[in-house]
Structures are given as structure tokens and as C-alpha cells.
Amino acid sequence: MVKRIDGRKFDELRKMEAKVGVIPNAAGSAMFKIGKTTAIAAVYGPRDFQAYLQNPEVGVLRCNYNMISFSSGGERVRPGPSRRSREISLVTEKALLPAVDLSAFPNAVVDVYVELINTDAGTRCAGISAAAMALADAGIPMRDLVSAVSAGKFKGDFIADLNYEEDSAEEGVDFPIAMMPRTGAITLMQMDGIVEKDDIKEFMKIGKKACEKVYEVQKKALREKYGK
């Protein structure tokens, strides 16, 4: 049987690890590790927010994604503030927003900081998965958790959870998705590469299945902190 570069099956995810409550100062925090990619998310708030962005009807979710300067070799992506990190901050916010209910906190803000301490593809997905757990840890009312993972295509095969080699290959397609596992609603869908129309359906299928595996890890981590 043909396998992938790192010996995984096509729909197999990298080894996952999650821990809730890693930053004592924060209201809620979590670490999510998938393969060599490690994301740490911290949530602060709801807190006072006297800025032009405040909304008197509902609380504001503010996300910040950042790759720490030593997190990668910098061959493809240079860590630090950039157009890319602004974009991912925005999509992280949009991916989490349908799951959180901030109606009880008008005019206030909930800050989510996602830091990647080691990166090897799939950072935005790891960040979103960590942030969802951190929000739950902070006690922010949520309609569901959010699980994220990338689907993709590499040398004609449909695969889940791309690693760096697959992601950066010229013919590779990266298709990160985030899902609310209970309803199956998709909150993030991006694409990088050239695909056929029918490929999308395949990506969705493989991605949704993979998200459920991520969800199991998230559930277990949350129960581990709060369960007996």
C-alpha cells in the first residue's frame, strides 16, 4: 500500500496532544500539539474595552495569531507580524465567533492570543483548536467547540493533516477547515492550490472526518482538567 512521505495513511492525522490550563495568569488557556506544530492559546476577559470598536449590543472577540520568532527556520514563512499573521488572526476570529455567545458582555472584549512555539504546517488549524479549548476553559458561554484541521491533495492523493513537505510542495493543495463538531457547521474554509470542482467535496469529506478526531482529543483534554 502506498503511503505518505512520513509513513502515515492518507486519512491519518499526526500525533495529537492537548492540555488545558497551561497559563495560570490567563482566564483560560490551552495547548494543542499536532505533529511538530505546537500552538498555545490564552484567553483574557471579558474585560473593559473603551475603544471605537466596542459594540453596545454584543461583546467583541479579538484574536491575535503569532508565530514566535524562533518557531520555524523561516524558509517559507517568516515569523512575526506580517500580512499573513493579520490574515490568520482575522480568520481565527471568524472561525471562533459562531461558537461563542458574547451577548452577555456588551461593550466588553474577549481577547484570544494564539502563539505558535514550533511550526510544521497546519498552524492556523492548531491555533483554532487550541483557542476553542482556551475559551471553554475561560468559562465563556459557547454553543459548541471548534475543531480545525487541514485536508489536501498531494500527488493525486486526498490526504488529511498535511505536514510541511506536503504543504509546501508545488503540486500540493492545502485546504484547512474548521468545524463545530456537534452540528457539523463549517466555520473556516480556505484553499491554496489548483483544484477541480469535484475535489472540494472530497476535501470536505476527509476534513470533516479529521475534525472529529481532533474533537475527541479536545474533549479528553477538557475533561482531564475538570473531571475527577
Binding site: 474595552f49 467547540l145 456537534r182
Partner: protein, 254 residues
């Protein structure tokens, strides 16, 4: 056909389906989506007849009327004082609720409470627009001096107080300190002996971290006995103390 999917006191996470069917009613920490009742926070299930409620295990302090809280003065204006009570919105202590005295126009308000002062106050009103009014009229409500404030997770305040105050009374008596607990998780500690005060702070820290473990009151009692016992023997035998401390550090790790 209705079906309950969880048990009493089970730990649930956001998005978990608690019950199916219309026979159950969603209460605090839950919501209904179509036929299902779903949890919206991490907490313990509490069943009360048809009502399903979640007792949160984490989360911010949500102010309620008549709660007694400990806060810090952050601003003074012509209307009174603004107090930070660990909530997203600042709370107002207006002149009329602050004191029985008559305050003349133009009085320097810092002579009553200054910025940085710690106050024990009661929440008089929580308005729909999240404006919180505080009051200082009532027994024990005053400016707190000579002591220090520590913070615990607000949802763990009931655990710190214990059944009919059993836990907090025990810590107070054993360490001979005065401890005031605000519903918002701010705790004021003042003791005559700084070493005993430190023991009390550490004990409260343990309660904050291990609030779910069973038999917590007993283990805290043991902790206090050990710690305070050691202090008495300190001058006589220093070696013994070292051994004991080692044991304790091992216990803590466990």
C-alpha cells in the same frame, strides 16, 4: 420521547448534548436547540425536576444584586467612586450610597476613599445596561486596611467558604487570621503573625487549585496542622523540619 443523556454531577463541556426531547427545560448554563438541550460551559450537571442546570467550574464573576464583593477604587469623580470588582464593567459607588454623612458640594472625596483603596461593598443594583451600583450601607461594609488581597477563581468561592462556612472558619481559627471573602473571588487576609498569614494564603491557593478533589476539608486541615506544627518546633530541631518539608513537597506533587 425524551431522554436524559447525562447524570447528576457529571462533568460536561460546551456543545455537549445533555437531553433530548421537550420534557426537560434548559436553565443556567444550557440552551435549547431544536429538541436538544445543550451545555454552554464547562461545569457539573445539576438536575432539579425537569430543569437542567450547569454549575460552572470556571468563568468570570457575574455580578448579582446583594452580593458582597471586594473591589479596588480606580477613579474618583464628582458623582462618587469607580470601583474595579473583577468584572468587565466598572462599578459605581455613588455619594448617596457611600456614606451616611452629609457631604458638602466641593468636598475633597479622597478623604473618604482614595484611588487604590480596597473596599468591601454590596451590589445594590445591576441594570440591564450593565451599570453596577454599589453601596456601603450594611454590617461589615467598609474600607479594608492592614492586610492584603489575593485572588481566587470566582467559581471556587463556595468551596473556599465550605458548608456553612466550615472551611473558612477552620482556616481562620487555625492560622489566627482575619479573612474576608468577596463573592467575586477577591479575598482579604490580615493576620498578626506573617508566617501564619502565609500559611493561610497557601491553604487558599491549594483550595483554588484542587477544588474538585474529594475530602478537601480534611486534607486542608492536615496541611494546616503540619505547617503550623512545624513552626512551633522550628527553634528546637531544624533537621526535623527539613524532613517534614520534603514529605510535604512530595505530597504536593501527588
Amino acid at each position: 420521547m425524551s431522554e436524559l443523556l447525562v447524570q447528576e454531577k457529571e462533568v460536561v463541556i460546551p456543545g455537549q448534548i445533555l437531553a433530548k426531547g421537550m420534557d426537560f427545560l434548559p436553565a443556567h448554563g444550557t440552551f435549547r436547540e431544536e429538541d436538544n438541550i445543550i451545555s454552554s460551559m464547562v461545569g457539573l450537571v445539576n438536575l432539579n425536576g425537569r430543569l437542567i442546570k450547569i454549575i460552572p467550574l470556571t468563568g468570570p464573576y457575574i455580578p448579582r444584586r446583594d452580593d458582597v464583593v471586594i473591589g479596588k477604587v480606580v477613579d474618583i469623580g464628582p458623582w462618587g467612586w469607580r470601583v474595579d470588582i473583577r468584572w468587565a464593567y466598572q462599578a459605581m459607588l455613588s455619594l448617596k450610597d457611600a456614606t451616611q454623612e452629609f457631604i458638602e458640594r466641593g468636598t475633597d472625596l479622597t478623604q473618604f476613599y482614595n484611588i487604590g483603596d480596597i473596599l468591601m461593598v454590596r451590589i445594590v443594583n445591576v441594570s440591564g445596561s450593565k451599570v453596577i451600583d454599589l453601596g456601603m450601607k450594611g454590617p461589615g461594609l467598609r474600607k479594608l486596611t492592614e492586610g492584603r488581597m489575593i485572588q481566587i477563581t470566582p467559581s471556587k468561592v463556595p468551596r473556599l467558604i465550605g458548608k456553612q462556612g466550615s472551611m473558612i472558619t477552620m482556616i481562620k481559627e487555625k492560622t489566627e487570621t482575619r479573612i474576608l471573602v468577596g463573592q467575586n473571588g477577591n479575598v482579604w487576609i490580615s493576620g498578626l503573625d506573617p508566617i501564619k498569614e502565609k500559611v493561610a494564603v497557601d491553604a487558599i491557593d491549594i483550595i483554588d487549585k484542587e477544588s474538585q478533589s474529594e475530602g478537601l476539608t480534611d486534607s486542608i486541615e492536615k496541611y494546616l496542622n503540619d505547617k503550623l506544627g512545624i513552626k512551633k518546633e522550628k527553634k528546637v530541631e531544624e533537621k526535623k523540619e527539613e524532613v517534614k518539608e520534603e514529605k510535604e513537597s512530595k505530597k504536593k506533587e501527588k
